[in-house]
């Protein structure tokens, strides 16, 4: 299904322009909006979009009810994020390990619009690569344990990945992903994680924790979405990018776009940036300067690959709200999964790993 098809979808239309939605939606569209927003974990995001556009009063009562309920859940997620961040900082600080919060937790801690109504399943943090062992020791001492995975997965994470195996807190049951880079060391793109540390900021409300600079937040979000190969929350993550770009790159912020392109070049992340800008703009009309779009497209794939990737990634990004999961969607998700692995490791590692993942059933 095409960009045009998905642009007509009530959920995507509402995010793009809530005021248009309010003028044109009937019961069928509102019903579709409620069902798909719930499935895509975007209900509380819609509530924030509606509030930001000043359209709250014009919503149907039934939609107001769902938005109000979702806001409570998002408020609980916000409270939990601050509580968790406080614990993580308290565990790492005595060990002398600096910490940067990533993704949803970062948006919330930094007080960004993308953090309003954001739900999160786990907290992601970044620590310096040469202090990863000290970080793990300090976190284990404070009650975070590696979740049960087999020896192969343990070794896979530790040898080839840019993060520790996922951790879970013994008492609170909260999940934590500890990264030391934004892509695996074996990936074809080679962003230098040390560069990220040069421009981090320490927002007053973030309890001493760091967050990435504005351009790095966008680049990390784009890299995560377009190189990780998992799309359960793909649409939610694309909406994050749209909201970040609107906040950072609004009117009179031309400098942001120049910094974004320069940083993408420096970090070797032009390709994921191209996809982020292309999809955010195509679905949500994100106000990206034309020159920026064409410059990022010049670093994009050739036209045949671009057409194929449009089809594959669009199917993946909308998979959570697709009316039915046909064979085409299954194929697109598989293609994106294989591509993400192809991008993250050389073929001599990839083939045995995928073979094992296909043969050994996933536990749980």
């Amino acid at each position: 299904m095409s960009f045009e098809y998905w642009r007509q979808h009530p959920l995507i239309g509402f995010i793009r322009a809530p005021e248009v939605a309010l003028g044109t939606f009937g019961p069928l569209q509102w019903s579709c909006l409620i069902g798909t927003a719930r499935r895509a974990n975007l209900m509380s995001r819609l509530a924030s979009t509606a509030a930001a556009s000043g359209q709250d009063d014009a919503l149907p009562a039934r939609v107001v009810e769902h938005f109000a309920s979702a806001r409570r859940v998002a408020q609980a997620a916000r409270t939990a994020t601050f509580r968790e961040a406080r614990q993580i900082v308290a565990a790492l600080e005595p060990a002398g390990v600096p910490v940067v919060f990533l993704k949803g937790a970062a948006y919330i801690l930094a007080g960004l619009e993308a953090g309003n109504g954001r739900l999160l399943g786990d907290v992601d943090i970044l620590v310096p690569r040469d202090q990863i062992a000290a970080a793990e020791r300090a976190l284990v001492a404070a009650g975070w344990m590696t979740t049960k995975i087999d020896n192969y997965d343990q070794r896979y994470y530790r040898q080839w990945m840019h993060e520790l195996p996922p951790m879970r807190h013994l008492d609170r049951g909260t999940n934590l992903d500890v990264h030391h880079s934004i892509l695996p060391p074996t990936a074809r793109l080679k962003p230098d994680p040390a560069l990220l540390w040069d421009t981090i900021s320490h927002p007053a409300e973030a309890l001493g924790a760091g967050v990435l600079s504005d351009v790095d937040l966008v680049l990390h979000s784009a890299t995560h979405l377009f190189h990780e190969g998992e799309f359960d929350n793909g649409l939610r993550d694309l909406v994050d990018l749209h909201v970040l770009l609107v906040e950072f790159g609004g009117a009179g912020e031309d400098a942001f776009w120049l910094r974004l392109l320069a940083r993408a070049r420096q970090l070797d992340l032009l390709r994921p940036l191209y996809y982020a800008l292309r999809f955010s703009c195509a679905l949500f009309d994100t106000p990206i300067p034309g020159a920026v779009l064409s410059e990022s497209a010049a670093k994009g794939p050739d036209s045949t690959t671009a057409r194929l990737m449009d089809a594959v990634l669009l199917a993946c990004l909308t998979s959570s709200i697709a009316p039915a999961r046909g064979p085409g969607l299954g194929l697109a998700l598989l293609a994106a999964f294989v591509r993400s692995h192809y991008l993250r490791m050389p073929t001599r590692l990839l083939v045995p790993h995928l073979a094992r993942k296909l043969v050994v059933p996933e536990r749980g």
């Binding site: 069928l28 499935r39 769902h66 609980a76």
Partner: protein, 304 residues
């Protein structure tokens, strides 16, 4: 139009096709299913609910109950509950289809209604005074609730007390009353006019049967009620009737541990529960017969 006015063949077509939408305690619920237990259970137990048109009303919960895969259908027939095409729980054996609809709809409401403190409790009302019966499974709250409803009390819910964070009043969600094991026959004997759906054996809760809610309770579903007393019932055969007043603190802790969304609401939930207890004293009640229980409840009803 009420569901009872819908001819069964057109009802079956709707359920198998684009879905049948019912207004259930203010929620618009659309159901799609070709499963026999669901197709039989709905017209029997939901006869007095209003049927809505998808072109005119917004759907709150879009539910489907169907076999999860073609292969399993022959091996061991199962039913899967889907909300918006997503499955929150594991499939159950086919015979439990209607019970799965009831449990699944409870889950939908309890997890998406955070404008309310949702307490796991039965609620009935008479003369503007609502009694809230929180209780762990097996405490007999549904049985006592069914008996009171058979005696003319208005049913608000046999499963959840939805206390509005804004008004402090309890929002009714009248639904079929879920009874287990011996309770089914106890209520059948208690009121010969009570209508039941098919009882299903061997569920996780034993044998389960659903009693049809009174039409009058459904008609008054929009009328919120003020809580009067919180009673923790416990049925004990051959025991003397035992009534004990609880302190506010004890009541608070016992109710808080019986809520679905206290952790989501945080401070707002704490305040709502505190406000509720300001007018609802807590009482624990051990009873061996309905006559004993009714006597206690009527005495409490007349207290200020």
């Amino acid at each position: 139009m009420k569901l009872s006015q819908r001819p069964v063949p057109s009802l079956e077509m709707e359920l198998a096709g684009s879905g049948l939408m019912l207004e259930v305690g203010g929620f618009n619920v659309r159901v799609k299913s070709s499963v026999e237990s669901v197709v039989r259970g709905l017209p029997r137990l939901y006869a007095d609910y209003t049927v809505l048109d998808s072109a005119e009303s917004i759907v709150d919960f879009d539910i489907s109950l169907n076999p999860p895969s073609q292969v399993r259908r022959w091996l061991r027939p199962q039913i899967q509950f889907l909300l918006d095409g997503f499955s929150p729980f594991k499939p159950l054996p086919r015979e439990q289809g209607f019970a799965l609809f009831e449990w699944g709809l409870n889950w939908c409401i309890a997890n998406h209604s955070h404008r309310y403190l949702v307490i796991h409790a039965a609620v009935v009302e008479r003369d503007g005074r609502a009694f809230i019966f929180p209780g762990a499974p097996g405490s007999g709250k549904s049985t006592l609730c069914a008996a009171l409803v058979c005696r003319g009390w208005r049913l608000l819910s046999d499963e959840m007390a939805m206390v509005s964070l804004e008004s402090g009043l309890v929002r009714p969600v009248p639904r079929p009353i879920s009874l287990k094991n011996e309770s089914i026959d106890i209520i059948r004997r208690f009121d010969a006019n009570a209508t039941f759906g098919d009882a299903v054996r061997d569920t996780a809760k034993g044998t389960v049967g659903h009693m049809k809610p009174p039409a009058a309770s459904i008609a008054r579903a929009a009328e919120h009620a003020r809580g009067h007393r919180i009673v923790f019932p416990r049925y004990r055969a051959d025991a003397a009737c035992d009534v004990r007043r609880l302190t506010a603190g004890e009541t608070f802790m016992r109710v808080a541990s019986n809520t679905f969304n206290y952790h989501v609401l945080g401070r707002a939930g704490f305040d709502a529960l505190g406000d509720l207890l300001a007018c609802c004293a807590g009482v624990s009640l051990e009873y061996a017969s309905f006559a004993d229980a009714f006597e206690v409840i009527e005495a409490l009803e007349n207290e200020l």
